[in-house]
């Protein structure tokens, strides 16, 4: 068996294992308390879990079918990711179909409003939380922390379990371990970004303790996969930034796979994995809030200089050669920033405005190829 075949075989095996684990986690959702959907990266899974709930960060999106299914409830000019949240529930797909409570942050106007549609149409209690877009004044962070305290109290009313300091510490430790475990594997999966993405998405749906066990189980396979990649060092490194990437939204990653090393730094990528909460014995909710606040820079922040700072840091850390700036169609916060981003960043930037439609893959493929040819040319 040649090196490429062996690589494909190992990749396929791992994907199957991830799929099986994911399936088992979805099936066990109801068995572990109220299933609480978390819409937005700033809804701390740690807090939801500490309230005796099963926290699910909603990352499931990307299929044209789910997108279409939501047409009866949402206009044509709406964000595909938000539409898929509704479409999946309408189609009875997990985990949206299992949600008993939804926590929706006002990360953007559309996530705020789609959360309302979800709550209202499916009769699911909605807990909206305010995540300030401003950050220059201390009052914004304080407001966010205050929102988290409130969220904890509301969830405690529903479950009867108060997020005590010890429960929070346990939950923070569990998620910290899961993030570190997944993060450790990501370093080796730069050349297989689809696999890396599927692994990261597990963080959204899996119980963190089980996830640590699963990672331990597949660590050897990942190492074998990485050691078989002889040409990896020669490939350019591409940083992917932009709109949230759903679990089935992989046309871009597929187009990049095998052609370059990929660092996926969207809020459902590196950013989600790298987050670490340091407790240092202080108030756990405050520590949690501060960690999320400081470590998840968003293009939506006003001013959004922390986001640019983060991108530059990633460029340095991973010695990035080019950037794919990927927005979802009608995701204004990302798509309207694209031109400015190109002006601010001194690397080749490919800006893509994507949908979940069927013609997307070939379109993306052609443009990625052109970008990489340009990068290769510059490296020669």
């Amino acid at each position: 068996m040649g090196a490429d075949e062996k690589h494909s075989e190992l990749t396929a095996e791992l994907r199957e294992e991830i799929g099986r684990f994911r399936q088992s986690q979805v099936q066990s959702l109801q068995a572990q308390g109220k299933v609480v959907g978390c819409l937005g990266s700033m809804v701390p899974l740690e807090l939801v879990r500490a309230c005796g709930c099963r926290a699910v960060r909603l990352l499931e999106a990307g299929s044209a079918q789910d997108f279409e299914a939501a047409a009866e409830l949402m206009g044509a000019d709406t964000c595909p990711f938000c539409r898929c949240q509704i479409g999946r529930r309408l189609g009875g797909r997990s985990p949206q179909a299992e949600l008993q409570v939804l926590v929706a942050a006002n990360h953007c106007d559309q996530s705020r409003r789609s959360g309302q549609v979800f709550g209202q149409h499916f009769n699911v209690p909605l807990l909206p939380i305010m995540v300030p877009a401003t950050w220059e004044d201390q009052s914004s962070l304080e407001m966010y922390v205050s929102e988290l305290r409130w969220l904890g109290e509301e969830l405690a009313q529903i479950t009867g379990t108060f997020p005590s300091q010890s429960r929070l510490e346990e939950s923070i430790t569990a998620y910290g371990a899961a993030r570190r475990a997944v993060g450790g594997l990501l370093e080796q999966l730069g050349n297989t970004p689809v696999l890396a993405h599927e692994l990261v998405c597990l963080l959204g749906v899996a119980d963190p303790v089980s996830l640590v066990g699963f990672v331990a189980q597949v660590r050897g396979q990942v190492a074998r996969l990485a050691s078989g990649e002889s040409v990896a060092g020669d490939r350019p490194t591409v940083l992917v930034v932009g709109s949230i990437m759903g679990d089935e939204d992989i046309s871009l990653l597929k187009a990049l796979e095998g052609r370059c090393r990929v660092v996926q730094a969207t809020c459902s990528g590196r950013m989600f994995v790298d987050l670490q909460v340091e407790l240092k014995g202080g108030d756990a909710i405050e520590g949690l809030g501060r960690a999320y606040w400081e470590q998840l820079p968003s293009v939506r922040s006003r001013p959004n200089s922390p986001f640019y700072h983060y991108v530059n840091e990633m460029i340095q850390r991973y010695k990035v050669d080019a950037i794919v700036y990927r927005s979802l169609k009608f995701c204004d916060l990302w798509s309207l920033e694209a031109v400015r981003f190109k002006q601010e960043i001194s690397l080749p930037v490919l800006a893509l405005d994507c949908t979940y439609g069927p013609g997307q893959a070939s379109l993306v493929d052609g443009r990625v190829q052109a970008l990489l040819e340009m990068v290769e040319e510059a490296r020669r």
Binding site: D109, Q116, P132, W150, R302, S335, L336, A338, R340
Partner: protein
């Protein structure tokens, strides 16, 4: 409907329909207005050369707002003064800059921040968002093209024209400070405000909080009701907003080189309440009387004056007082600018292309209630307690910072209050809120009022209203006619 609703008069044939004027006729009417009246129509500010604004409307058309030549205007001097006042804002802003006044651009909060900035005598404030209808008024894509060059393409609302205007320096002088409200607002304008700041325009961002609805499953939040407007909000949001206002106040003071003392702010609130009351009175008579004593566009202009006084608080109040006087007279005399049998419709969005409103009136419809996303600008601001807190509380009436259901309810209230027969939603493609609101508003209106809703997207066109929009309006008029026949009210 007000007590003096004229349905009875209508039946007894007492109504009198006043004809609206073409631009040419309006020019002639302006020329006939006596000199004494014209002398009242002057922008005055310390250090600024007095600026007469009551001019032929065609002069404003020639200056760029070409659509004016296709619109029709209220025949009264007060109505013509209103149009002149609104369209002369650009001149006032440049005159103010020349006179050394500070210029503040405010964005998105639509009604509250100017009350803070107008506490200063030597400052002028305008809303950059108001450029939203300029492409249609100008019948020209210059502002949109300039925005597009910076990445603001046609997937976002026409409010992107504001970015174009900043870039072209065409509609206002460079502001000394832009005050941008972000957070619970539409995504496209949030992105635009960031682009404006990113281009080096001095900007302070402040947060519009998320207003939560009281719901059965929310038990750990303390709620309160706004002083006027009856909007429920979580108390923590108000405390947070006060801190936001304190920040902005400090930034404004630094730019102005002057402290805003409590009594200055109280005076500004008093002035704002006066304007808001005038707008409420005009609306109630215009929307609640048959035949309508004021047409849809004139009433819309009055409503929008409440948000920032068109850069002149003193003249703004005088203009509104004048309009109110005329409206009252007409109500007394049974005079209207539209037929008594007009189809009564609430407009749940301001129309980017104002000629569509007049087209609807020409088809036999009228505007009898609105939810223009600025309804919070007509509620009274509390005059007791700390004035900054009172302002912060006023923000919490904003229909856009909470749930879609909240705004839908405002539309329902308008339908009920003014006995509308239908609702029209002229939406904007790409505006992040529109596609979510249309279904919610339609469903609430159907369910609670049993009246039909027409929604359509307003396309940009320099060649008049599209056939599609015309067809939709015509069909809606026919539907309303059929419903009347069925109900035996025709």
């Amino acid at each position: 409907m007000t007590d003096r609703a004229r349905r009875g008069d209508l039946e007894s044939g007492r109504e009198e329909e006043l004809a609206l004027l073409s631009c040419e006729q309006a020019d002639a009417a302006v020329a006939e207005v006596d000199a004494e009246y014209r002398k009242q129509c002057v922008y005055r500010a310390e250090g600024v050369e007095p600026l007469e604004y009551f001019q032929a409307l065609s002069s404003y058309a020639e200056a760029g707002d070409h659509l004016l030549t296709r619109l029709r205007f209220d025949p009264s001097p007060a109505g013509l003064r209103l149009w002149s006042f609104v369209f002369s804002e650009r001149k006032r802003l440049f005159a103010a800059r020349q006179g050394g006044l500070k210029i503040f651009a405010v964005m998105k909060d639509l009604g509250t921040m100017p009350v803070l900035t107008y506490a200063l005598a030597k400052a002028v404030t305008f809303y950059a968002d108001e450029l939203w209808w300029s492409p249609c008024l100008m019948e020209d894509t210059r502002l949109l093209d300039a925005a597009e060059a910076m990445g603001c393409h046609d997937q976002c609302c026409y409010v992107r024209a504001a970015l174009g205007a900043y870039e072209l320096h065409s509609h206002f002088p460079e502001p000394d400070l832009s005050i941008a409200a972000v957070g619970s607002c539409c995504d496209d304008f949030s992105a635009i405000m960031q682009l404006i700041a990113g281009r080096g325009h001095k900007t302070i961002f402040w947060e519009l909080p998320l207003r939560k609805d009281r719901a059965a499953h929310i038990s750990r939040e303390q709620f309160a009701k706004t002083f006027d407007g009856e909007s429920w909000y979580q108390r923590r949001a108000l405390d947070f907003l006060v801190r936001q206002f304190e920040r902005v106040k400090l930034a404004v003071e630094q730019v102005a080189g002057e402290q805003i003392r409590e009594e200055m702010l109280r005076e500004s609130i008093r002035r704002a309440n006066k304007v808001r009351k005038l707008v409420r009175q005009i609306r109630d008579l215009a929307y609640g009387t048959v035949p309508a004593p004021l047409a849809g566009l004139e009433t819309m202009l009055c409503e929008f004056l409440a948000i920032h006084y068109c850069s002149d608080p003193i003249q703004c109040a005088a203009v509104l007082e004048d309009v109110l006087k005329v409206v009252r007279q007409r109500v007394e005399l049974g005079q209207g600018v539209l037929g008594g049998g007009a189809y009564r419709t609430v407009w749940a969005m301001p129309c980017t292309d104002p000629s569509i409103v007049q087209l609807w009136e020409k088809m036999g419809g009228c505007v009898t209630g609105t939810e223009y996303l600025i309804s919070h600008s007509r509620y009274r601001i509390r005059t007791d307690g700390a004035p900054l807190r009172a302002l912060a509380e006023a923000v919490l009436n904003d229909p856009c910072i909470g749930t879609t259901a909240f705004r839908a309810q405002r539309v329902v209230e308008e339908v009920r209050k003014y006995q509308a027969e239908g609702v029209i939603i002229p939406s904007i493609f790409g505006a992040s809120h529109c596609s979510y609101e249309i279904r919610e508003i339609s469903s609430a209106v159907h369910r609670q009022c049993g009246v039909p809703v027409l929604s359509f997207e307003v396309p940009f066109s320099s060649k008049g209203v599209s056939d599609q929009v015309m067809g939709r309006l015509q069909a809606f008029a026919e539907l309303l006619e059929q419903r009347r026949k069925k109900a035996g009210t025709n």
